[in-house]
Amino acid sequence: MFKGYKDLPEVPMTWDTTFVNITGSWRTVKPVLDPEKCTKCYICWKFCPEVAIIIDEELKEVPKIDYDHCKGCAICANECPKKAIEMVVESMEE
């Protein structure tokens, strides 16, 4: 990694993308999706500001939550028309 000006690229940029930034560690509550209640409307995916909800291209599966990047803002839980997402306080052990 960079140690000084001699290592920096010509342009102020990182080699990686924001993906390496594990923002999941910022949250205090986490969304948990109940597959029984989910109707695969994908509204949660549309509203997630963090792109932390993953859906499959065939649109056959229930959405999965990317816990490495989810910041726990609860917008998905708020928008879900079936109240299929519950915000759960994370325990210290997880």
């Binding site: 000006y5 010509e10 990182t14 990686d16 993308t17």
Partner: protein, 394 residues
């Protein structure tokens, strides 16, 4: 090559056309409007392949140029005075993001009071933004410098934006004889823009994000300082290359005229330097040992050339067509700074002249030379003098 009679603004338009600028985002302002009108004509008649973006302000124009450049496009814009100062935030962004945007600025006075005439404060006030700055004295130089500026700016070891300035009306609206080079010759000289890094969804990076006090903001800034240093030699190298291909040079960083054997030299930028050449010839015919050092490039600052000149002369008169309210005008203050630690110093005086478009005539220049010549014997009279200032008060 086509010999023609065109304005400085049209020379700008032809420069952008020959350089094959791919994206142009500009907002109109007197006296720049005909630059972009001519480009619009080129696009309409199909002789220029460029994407023109209509923006709502100069700030947006620069923002558009920066991001277009970051996608790998060669970008161009033009503005003046209030337009340039409106872009100030974005100018600093452009150099920080290392985007080689090239811009023509028409030097016009800042309001209030309202003025459309020639004055250098607009571009001088941008000297901290990290842009390379050229001050042109002729329409030919405007056209040629756009082409060479791209080559310098886009060099991998430079990657800094360039602005070239021309005096309002004295160049922008004045018809002069200009050789317009052939497109294929310019293509041989200036290859397509090929940046190392750009926005690419196949190879994504994070551009310009957070940088902490302990690492590496200071180092990013130092890199720009190093680039600006390298630009000195790069400009001279590209200047020579252009001369060997097109037969013309505009004098590198500090354009010397009859300084060999001169005792008194004036430093000036822009069209007044052209007028000074004429007066130097007249005075030389009268036996006076005078010369002109035209400050062609202000950033990077030609400290080495100024020190070399200073060693050989007795009096150095620095003309400023702007006033920075510091210690004299900006050129005077920086030249003084460069000479402070230098053992061989001439008498150094600041002549503040031509503010707000006040005409700098051969008589004005002659008066300045006469004063500078008199300082050889009696030493400095007044360190900062405003020339042809109307006093009134009777």
């Amino acid at each position: 090559m086509v010999k023609s009679v065109i304005t400085g603004n049209y020379a700008s338009s032809y420069g952008a056309k020959l350089a094959r600028a791919q994206v142009i985002a500009a907002y109109p302002i007197t006296p720049q409007t005909s630059v972009v009108e001519k480009i619009a004509e080129f696009v309409a008649e199909g002789t220029m392949d460029t994407q023109y973006i209509k923006v709502e302000s100069e700030h947006s124009a620069m923002a558009a140029c920066i991001t277009a450049s970051q996608t790998g496009a060669r970008t161009f814009t033009a503005t003046s005075a209030h337009g340039l100062t409106l872009m100030h935030e974005m100018l600093i962004w452009a150099s920080g993001a290392r985007t080689p945007v090239v811009m023509t600025n028409i030097n016009r006075a800042m309001a209030p009071p309202w003025s459309v005439w020639a004055d250098h404060l607009d571009s001088v006030a941008q000297r901290d933004t990290g842009w390379i700055q050229y001050y042109c004295e002729s329409n030919q130089e405007v056209l040629d410098t756009i082409i060479t500026a791209y080559k310098v700016s886009e060099s991998r070891e430079i990657m800094l934006p360039s602005m070239l300035t021309l005096d309002a009306f004295y160049l922008s609206h004045t018809y002069e004889t200009v050789d317009i080079p052939d497109q294929d010759k310019v293509d041989k000289f200036l290859p397509p823009f090929d940046p190392l890094y750009k926005f690419d969804v196949e190879d994504p990076h994070l551009f310009g994000s957070l940088s902490f006090p302990h690492q590496f903001y200071m180092e990013w800034r130092y890199q720009i300082a190093l680039s600006m240093e390298r630009a000195r030699d790069k400009i001279l190298e590209i200047d020579k290359e252009f001369e060997s291909m097109f037969g013309r040079s505009h004098g590198g960083l500090l354009d010397l005229y009859r300084c060999d054997g001169a005792e008194v030299v004036l430093i000036a930028a822009g069209t007044m330097a052209s007028t000074i050449r004429e007066v130097v010839d007249q005075l030389r015919d009268e036996g006076e040992k005078v010369g002109l050092a035209r400050l062609r490039v202000f950033r990077p600052f030609p400290a080495k050339e100024i020190r070399e000149l200073a060693e050989k002369i007795d009096v150095l008169g620095v003309l400023d067509r702007s006033y920075s309210f510091g210690y004299g005008g900006a050129f005077f203050a920086e030249i003084g700074g460069a000479l402070y630690n230098h053992p061989d110093k001439p008498v150094l005086k600041n002549y503040v002249v031509g503010i707000g478009g006040r005409d700098v005539t051969p008589n004005t220049v002659r008066g300045i030379f006469e004063n500078a010549l008199s300082l050889q014997d009696r030493g400095l009279d007044k360190e900062i003098e405003w020339i042809e200032l109307k006093e009134g008060g009777e």
